[in-house]
Amino acid sequence: MPNYSWPPMEQRRVMGKRLARLDGAAKASGKAKYNSDVRPAGTIHGAILHCPHAHCRVRSIDTSAAKALSGVTSVRVAAEPGKEIMWPNAEIAFVAARTEEIAREALRLIKVDYEVLPHLVREENLAAAGSRAKPAGEVVTGDPDAALRSADVVHEGEYGIPVITHCCLEPHGSTVQWSGNKVEFWPSTQAISNVGGDLAKGIELAAGNVHAHMDYVGGGFGSKFQADLWGIQAAHMSKESGGKPVKLYLDRAAELTIAGIRPSVYGKIRLGAKRDGTLVAWDSLTWMTGGMAGGGLNADLLPYVFRNVPNRRVNHTAVATNTGAQRAWRAPNHPQVSFVTCAALDDLAAKLNMDPLDFFKKNANLTVREAVYVSQLDKAADMIEWKKRYHSRGDKTAGSMKRGLGLAVGTWQGGGHASQCRTNIHPDGSVEVELGSQDIGTGTRTIITQVAAESLGLPMNAIKLNIGDNGLPPSGASGGSTTVGGVASSSRIATLNALEKLFEAVAPSLGAPADQLEAVDGKIQVKGNPAKSLTWKAACAKLGVKTISENGANDQRNPRGLNAAGVGGVHMADVSVDVETGVVTVNKVVAVQDCGLIINPKLAEGQVFGGVIMGICAALMEERVMDEATGRCLNQDMEFYKLAGIGDIGDIQVHMDITPDHDKRGVVGLGEPATIPTIAAIANACTNAIGVRVPTLPLTPRNVLNALAGRRMA
């Protein structure tokens, strides 16, 4: 059996290099075709009739006029009379037609009679939630009441972070062609190996009859794991339209309302410390909504990271609202609890008159990775010149621009998912690496190719990578930051298994046993004896007509040291706040991130840049705005659902914690941890600048000026 261990850091030739992503040019030039660009011959178009009410029952539905419209090939009712509709924009009916315009016109011809029912769409006021609020029960460690009574300093605060959405640039949807008993499926997905089976289940077809393929996806962030009702209805409409491919993608309003949200978190928090800054007690009541299911929060997440505080009480309440259902959002719940925890800790530090850097370090022993956090806090502090530039709360300099620093922490698991890979070595020397994974923008293509090139002693361009198809060996969904660990391991194992077969085939020619051979610099040679070698091509020619095809799998129970889980990260922010306008500007964010062995530092940093940018968006401007009177989402567009543009980002500096200690753990995912602490770091920096806490995010002029004026939130 080959030695699958990663080569030692200093011996890596391709892994560890700052290579540009392989699909960068294709994406930047538009040559890369996303599935929403795919338009097979004969494609017709689907459209969805959405419910205008937050809560209602369908009394009757009449589709006859829509069916009669010229160009319409299929009309399907998704909400039959009697069906209770639980959120606005829920799907009522589907139409397929020759053009998108005809399909949309047909929607207008469908007559639906609704019985409107009472709704609740806003959750920030827990007292108004009534029976919609479901407490999860109390979790207590130690004696929080006694600890708070005897604490030298107690802080009590309220914090809120609203619902935001995934806002994928490429909306959810697919093109589906169902002819005979075969389905061709072009979804926008994070799970190419599973999504075909999911569709097959939805349309009651054998899983093997659905062929799913996708080269590129324009963002998923946790919201694109399933075929969804949209894929299922598109399939049915294709069948009803004589097997023509049906293209059905959500429009922006639907994307922002029914394609997943990140739950809010609101909380009342009490916490206490000794005079020297030792945190002794935490007591929190949090609530959130993730739609009608309410929204659960694992009590173990509070207080975030500083979980081993000796005395804690955690109460959480899920509020069921008539809003679109939550889906996993990059590090589910972590950014929210990072905000409420790090903001409360920052406020307690201020009350102790203590520098939060010292306060967080002082309490790092309450985390499960004390040394990591202490060193990351020191590194980030160096990068942002914390000791030189930090001032106590409230910038006292003259003028309307106030500047401040803030910090926050995050953690994530990110072990490798289940993944199978097949590596083929052909007699002509060509190499294929094949797995049913997908590159969700993280650089997975490049990473796998680097692993294979490293393992075979070949250049990057000698490897042909095939991903994005459910006919390939299955790989897990890209979620939970589990992809890189899974695919790096399976491709390492499959490739070394294939190489072992090649060694066996050429051993006689080199006059050495197979286990004495190595693949280096495009040659197969006797270990330590370059004189006894064959070029890669000559070696492969020894295969005659027989292709080597070997599999490898990441075994999650025994990852062989190739991948691991559990990381920490620290972000620090430098912001300016115009106290006459409430406009917050991010000057700089520094991010220090541990992620185990790093296959490509450039791509790893890219993940962190992206994570920080998403954090900046959420800190400064993102929120879904629901209206209680109408039950509607008012900003289901990209005009008032605001995202930061290039001019709003500021300077981002990333430090990947590349050390032999982290490296020897193996590969750990980092897409998610990279976005967790940014929001809280910016919020704390804003507080440091202006001297008061803005309790509810985002840090818009309204929320900042209300906090400065002592006004309660509207």
Binding site: E105, E580, A629, E639, P701, N706
Partner: protein, 324 residues
């Protein structure tokens, strides 16, 4: 969107003849940056679109008597790049730059900026211009953070025009062509607060077209300031434009106009008269800001905009006198 007929006239006369007695008969298409969105959302459902971009007499910027004449189809980008505009009307340049999106600046026109519909999210979600349900304002008790702080009847939206405050402060007039010839209206009175969903927020009939804007070249010092969140495409929370006739360093007369705080641009006469006879200092400018918001009546969730309007006036004044 509803199917429509597309007309492509070459003269104003033909264009006017192609319009109709009601807004559902025909709409004008200039830059199209918002018209098409309104049609896709079925807020506008014209039977005909009249493209006015090929009408030569609506194009171009030139001196005309004591005015600078800006054609209705001049794009925001042309306005920003025009030498005369840059020399005489920095307030217009900065207001046009505030639009943020290069695509909209390249396509959007001066006439379109003035005639664009409000961005009120109740209106855009199909609840009507006044956003009322069962006779009650949805805005009053609803999500009104971006709405009016100056009360002008039942309308609670804010005028969306980026250029109107600057043009109003400069004393510009709008020329309007209709079936009976042309008429002229001050920019400040071109905007009207509607009292029903059927009315428009500008003094324009369905069969009329804005043809040009005349801006007096009075030599007034001018500037505008927008409070905005994003660097790119975004709507101002509040804006102010000022024009000052100076005698040395003393203000002889002033015009101060607030934007995005009411259904029309709000002419702040109190602030203007308080400035007369004074030199602009930080303190004087701040006082003018206070005067400008004297009549403000914020809604439940937008008291913060009073502060923004004040600040915009102060900063526009400081900017105006910073220039040589």
């Amino acid at each position: 969107m509803q199917a429509f007929e597309y007309a492509n006239p070459m003269t104003v006369k033909d264009a006017v003849a192609l319009l109709g007695a009601s807004w559902t008969d025909a709409n004008v298409l200039a830059g199209g940056t918002d018209q098409l969105s309104l049609m896709k959302d079925y807020i506008h459902t014209p039977k005909r679109l009249v493209n006015i971009k090929n009408i030569k007499e609506l194009a171009g910027i030139r001196k005309a008597g004591g005015n600078l004449r800006i054609g209705a189809t001049v794009t925001l980008d042309e306005l920003i790049d025009n030498r005369e505009v840059r020399m005489a009307f920095p307030s217009l340049v900065s207001a046009a730059r505030g639009v943020g999106s290069p695509q909209i600046k390249n396509m959007g026109t001066v006439g379109g900026d003035l005639c664009q519909r409000p961005r009120c999210w109740y209106f855009r979600n199909g609840f009507g211009l006044l956003a009322q349900k069962n006779g009650r304002s949805l805005v009053d008790d609803g999500q009104n953070e971006f709405h009016a702080i100056f009360s002008q009847g039942p309308a609670k939206f804010v005028s969306a025009s980026s250029l109107a405050p600057a043009l109003a402060a400069l004393g510009a007039t709008v020329t309007i062509a209709g079936p009976n010839g042309t008429r002229s209206v001050d920019v400040a009175s071109f905007f009207v607060a509607p009292s029903s969903d059927q009315q428009r927020e500008v003094d324009l009939k369905p069969n009329e077209i804005v043809t040009q804007v005349l801006v007096p070249m009075s030599g007034a010092k001018n500037a505008s300031y927008e409070v905005r969140l994003k660097d790119g495409l975004d709507w101002p929370y509040a804006a102010a434009a000022v024009a000052l006739r100076m005698k040395g360093s003393t203000v002889e007369s002033a015009r101060v106009v607030l934007g995005h705080v009411g259904p029309t641009p709000v002419v702040a006469e109190g602030a203007a008269s308080a400035l007369a006879g004074k030199s602009i200092t930080e303190e004087v400018a701040a006082q003018a800001g206070e005067s400008a918001v004297q009549g403000a009546h914020p809604l439940s969730g937008n008291a913060y905009k009073v502060q923004l309007a004040k600040t915009a006036v102060k900063r526009a004044l400081m900017e105006a006198v910073k220039r040589a």
